[in-house]
Symmetry: C2
Subunit: 126 residues, 2 copies
């Protein structure tokens, strides 16, 4: 079934007058065409899922002050090693932080992406 036909079918299922209410954007078709594409939506929600945890927000808050080794983060947050590693890995996968080995220790810091997102978060909370 073609795109046009699918849209026609959707419109058909709407109550009377609903389609007309979509007036400023080229109807249902215009609406659908202006949604972000799937890969972008996936990337956005990967980042938001990474940000959607209190421990991880605390980690970002600490790293915004200065790069820190795992043991300091661990001490401040009072969590187990493996639990902290898990949260760090989520932030790393989302591209918000990066870790650099320095001898035995690993020092984490915000990436540019991490700084950008955390900064706008802070702004929006003001």
């Amino acid at each position: 079934m073609s795109g046009k036909k699918i849209i026609a079918k959707i419109i058909d299922s709407l109550p009377d007058g609903a389609e007309q209410s979509v007036c400023t954007c080229g109807g249902l078709e215009g609406l659908i065409s202006r949604l972000p594409d799937n890969s972008e939506i996936e990337e956005i929600s990967l980042i938001f899922r990474a940000l959607a945890d209190e421990k991880r927000i605390n980690i970002l808050s600490m790293l915004e002050i200065q790069p820190l080794c795992v043991c300091i983060i661990r001490a401040v947050l009072d969590v187990s090693d493996s639990r902290l590693s898990y949260h760090l890995s989520i932030l790393k996968k989302a591209g918000l932080i990066t870790g650099e080995q320095k001898g035995t220790w690993i020092t984490y810091s915000l990436t540019e992406k991490g700084k950008k997102w955390f900064f706008s978060c802070k702004q929006n909370m003001e």
Copy 2:
């Protein structure tokens, strides 16, 4: 146990040299004092949890274009009524959208908060 004593205990548990690495922010104590407080952290993660879902990002994208009734959103996203209601309720609880009854229909739109967060999300994705 007092705050100072707790911090002293934490420092005690750190490997040699770790505390000295926290140099630019007044040591562990300075670090802890600069973390956001709990209520703020909770509010932030409520918002991020609301944003951490692909359907909900799509909903916000649609509402950014114009206010829409439930049946249009439902048609575009192709989800069941109850599933859509669930996602709308999450966004509403986070204060990102608001619904206004217009006759039989309910029209949802972005709140100021919703616009602010969604805008900075778009900016960060550029």
